[in-house]
Each structure stands twice: as C-alpha cells, then as structure tokens.
C-alpha cells in the first residue's frame, strides 16, 4: 500500500470545501437564484405596499433594504447544508480530518458570496424603487456596510444552520433561532445606510454602526470557534 497522505493543511481543506460549494451552486443554481428572486419579489411588494413612486421613501430605505436582506439571508442560510443532508454526504465529510471550524468557515464564505451576489441586485433596486434624492454617490458606502454585515450574517447563520441540521424540525428551528440574532444586524445595517443616503453624509454615525457590526462579527466568530466542534461531534 502506498502512503499518499500528508497531514492535511487546513488552507487546502478550506479551499476544497469552498470550491465544492461553488461548483454545486454553479451546477444547480438553486440557492443564489432563489435568493435573488425572493429579494426582487419582496422589494416589489414593498414598493407597491408603501405607495406610489411619487412618494419619497428615502428615510425608509435602510429598513426596507435590510429587512429584505435579512429574510433573504434566512432563505440562503437554510439551504447551506441541503446537499450534505439530502445527499447524505455529511458522514463522509465528518470522518475526514477536517477541523469543524474549517467546515464553518467554508460555509460562511460561500454565504458571503451568495449574499454579495444578491446585493448586486438589491442595492441598485432599492435606489430605483424608493429613493428620490441622491443615492448613487453613496453606493460604495452601502456596499461596504453590506460586506461587513454579510460576514455577520454568514457567521451567525452557519452556526445556527449547523445546530438546526441535527434537529427534526430544522426548517422551523432555523428561522426561530436565526431571525432574532439578525435584529442587531438589521438595526446597524439600516442605520448605516440611512446615514449615507438622501444627501446625508453623517460619517460619524456610519462609522459607529460599522464598528458595531465588526464587534458583532468578532463575537460570533468566537462563539463559533468555541462551539462548532461540539455542534458536529456531540
């Protein structure tokens, strides 16, 4: 028997898992397509629900955008272990020498990518639907806070989807666990967006919300590192 194994490097394991998730998504196009369509439909319903296009909804922009993104995130996170669960691959992954936190990191990075693709559609659409004043010059700032918020969503979402994975009522458990955890992200995301749209450029407020999100991400990162082995191995 030839020995073909080295002590596996976590960087190679992480790259392999991310590549696998993206390949699966490219082939099936199930998760991102569902997220984008869901976000478009939600924003369209809100656009009709809040009045005509003559109304200036700038002051609601942050809330409308981040509530939509929060529900879209629940959809995306809920599908993050679907392939492993439905195709019964999880045992194969778990019997390999991959640190459980690397599994989390791979799923989290995939979710960040899916959310970013969704936001490529959502952020311009919010400007078209709800904002009458200046918007497009703030889009870089909105994208930045979205990127930070995506990390928060991905870390908390992957942890809760890992927990829900081993429960029978996982489709019910995940939103019940995950949505309350998203409340701070929605508040900070909406606040930061509101601080930079419609001609307002309150960078001090914007910075404060971004720092809050960074703190949230660090907190969930530590929780994930502390608990993820137990989630999969206990």
């Amino acid at each position: 028997m030839s020995t073909t194994v080295n002590r596996p490097r976590w960087t190679r394991q992480l790259a392999g898992l991310i590549r696998k998730d993206l390949r699966l998504e490219l082939r099936t196009k199930e998760t991102v397509m569902a997220m984008v369509l869901f976000a478009i439909v939600t924003l369209t319903i809100m656009q009709f629900g809040f009045g005509t296009r003559d109304d200036d909804l700038t002051r609601f922009t942050g809330g409308l955008m981040w509530v939509t993104l929060a529900f879209t995130a629940v959809l995306g996170v809920g599908r993050s272990y679907v392939a492993e669960r439905e195709q019964r691959v999880l045992d194969g992954i778990l019997v390999s020498p991959v640190p459980r936190v690397v599994l989390l990191a791979a799923k989290a990075i995939a979710i960040v990518i899916y959310m970013a693709i969704t936001e490529l559609v959502v952020i311009p659409l919010v400007g078209i639907f709800f904002v009458k004043g200046p918007y497009w010059d703030s889009i870089g700032w909105i994208a930045l806070v979205a990127l930070i918020a995506n990390v928060c969503i991905a870390l908390s979402g992957t942890l809760f989807s890992g927990l829900a994975l081993f429960t029978r009522a996982r489709d019910l458990i995940l939103p019940v666990l995950f949505l309350p955890a998203l409340v701070p992200v929605v508040i900070a995301g909406a606040g930061a967006t509101h601080a930079v749209v419609g001609g307002a450029h309150d960078m001090s407020e914007y910075r404060g919300y971004c720092l809050f999100l960074v703190g949230y991400a660090i907190l969930f990162l530590l929780v994930c590192i502390a608990t993820y082995d137990a989630v999969f191995d206990d």
């Binding site: 028997m1 030839s2 020995t3 073909t4 194994v5 080295n6 002590r7 596996p8 490097r9 190679r12 394991q13 790259a15 392999g16 898992l17 590549r19 696998k20 390949r23 699966l24 082939r27 099936t28 392939a83 195709q87 019964r88 691959v89 045992d91 194969g92 992954i93 778990l94 019997v95 390999s96 020498p97 991959v98 640190p99 191995d233 206990d234």
Partner: protein, 235 residues
C-alpha cells in the same frame, strides 16, 4: 504505528434511554479482518460509527490507530477509510470532482494521478466527468470504494459493503480485503451476509442487544459452519 489498530474497553453508547452499545471490549490487530454480525438493532452499525469517530462513546475508553478518542479523533481520522450504505458523494458533482473534494480534505499528495488511478481501478474512468446522479447504484458504490481507498487508510470500516456493490465492485473489495492480511492494514466489516464471512474475515464477532456475545476465529470454517455458529449465537 501501533500493531493494535482498535482497542475498545467497556465502550457504550445510549440513544435516548436505550443502550445501543453496551460494555463492548474489542481489539483489532494489524492484518486482521473482523466481521461483526448480528440481528437488526444489535448495535453493529452504531459500534462501527463510534470507531469511525462519527459518534462519541458514552462509557469506556476507545483507542483507534493509537489515538485515544475523542481527543485524538482528528489524527485518527487520517488513517480511517469508511464505507457506508450510501456512497457519501455529492450527486451533482462528477466522480472526479467528488474525489477531488476528499483528496483536499485528507491532504492526498499528487491527487490528480491518484484519482485517475483509482477511477481506472474501479472502472469508472469513462464516466469520471458525468454527474454521480446519472450513475447506477453499483457504479456509485464503486465510487464510494475509490473514496474510501483514496488516502490509503490503515483501518477500513465497512458497513454492509457487499449490499450495494455490483459484481465488479465486490471482486475489487474482496481483493482489497485479501491484500490487507499482509500489508499491515485492518478491516472491521459489519455484515448480514453471514456465509460471506468465511471468505472475507479472520474473526467472527456476534452482537446481540448492544453486547458482544461471541468473538472467535473463523479459520477452518466454511460458509455453512459459520452460518450454523451464528444461528447458535443469536438463538
């Protein structure tokens, strides 16, 4: 590496209030092929999953490939090959892509060449780039065989390995099990096919209600004798 690849002392596992495995003592030495048989619900697959580090032992101590579990689980996993009822493969990826995922997870060197060799060995090279979803059950299980052997494991853990394999896969697996008598590997085979034990295993372990009731050599017995002994144990 240790000569004793598995050492279980008083191992147990409880599902809810039912002891699925209780007070199991089992040693597996290098070169040994141990068959575990027993009626449904006897705890065979649970015991295999505990040794595979997929379940934690509730009681007792367990050492796999010289690593005490659960602390040494990650190091032990480097040398474990696990074959389950399911192929443990992503249906929307091809056999090659599936093996690439596992090569990354196990840190297999020169992975492309190794994958091609294995796909050739399990006779899937012509279907290497088709999605697993379109392969037959026998082909998918041959892919599982390739996945199990990919990283050159020292300890093979097989759960009903012959149940879904086609004739080609069965021949490959039996050849692999025959080779390991001399190359220092070991196998634990959970099976319902008691007659087959005479040809693929050196030891017969019979489980009943979570406990091992018999652990003895197979040597010199034919299929009918193994069947008779098994029936006697579970009567």
């Amino acid at each position: 590496m240790p000569d004793r690849l598995v050492s279980a002392r008083g191992v147990g596992h409880i599902y809810g209030e039912r002891a699925a495995v209780a007070d199991v003592h089992l040693n597996v030495a290098a070169g040994e092929r141990v068959a575990i048989a027993g009626p449904n619900g006897a705890g065979k697959s649970t015991l295999l999953r505990i040794v595979a580090t997929l379940l934690r032992t509730g009681t007792g101590t367990l050492t796999v490939l010289g690593e005490e579990l659960p602390g040494g689980a990650r190091r032990a996993r480097c040398g474990i090959g696990y074959l389950a009822h399911d192929p443990l493969a992503y249906l929307d990826l091809s056999p090659r892509q599936n093996l690439q995922v596992y090569a990354d997870l196990f840190g297999v060197q020169d992975a492309d060449r190794r994958i091609d060799d294995l796909l050739d060995r399990v006779d899937l090279i012509a279907r290497a780039d088709d999605p697993v979803r379109v392969l037959s059950r026998g082909m998918a299980q041959r892919l599982a065989l390739a996945r199990m052997l990919l990283h050159g494991p020292r300890l093979l853990l097989l759960d009903e390995p012959h149940a879904s394999l086609d004739a080609a896969g069965t021949a490959l697996l039996d050849a692999e099990l025959a080779a390991m008598r001399t190359d220092g590997r070991a196998a634990v085979i959970v099976t319902h096919e008691v007659e087959r034990i005479a040809s693929v295993a050196d030891r017969l372990v019979v489980m009943r209600r979570g406990r091992i009731v018999v652990d003895e050599p197979v040597a010199g017995r034919g299929p009918a004798q193994v069947r008779a002994r098994y029936e006697e144990c579970i009567a």
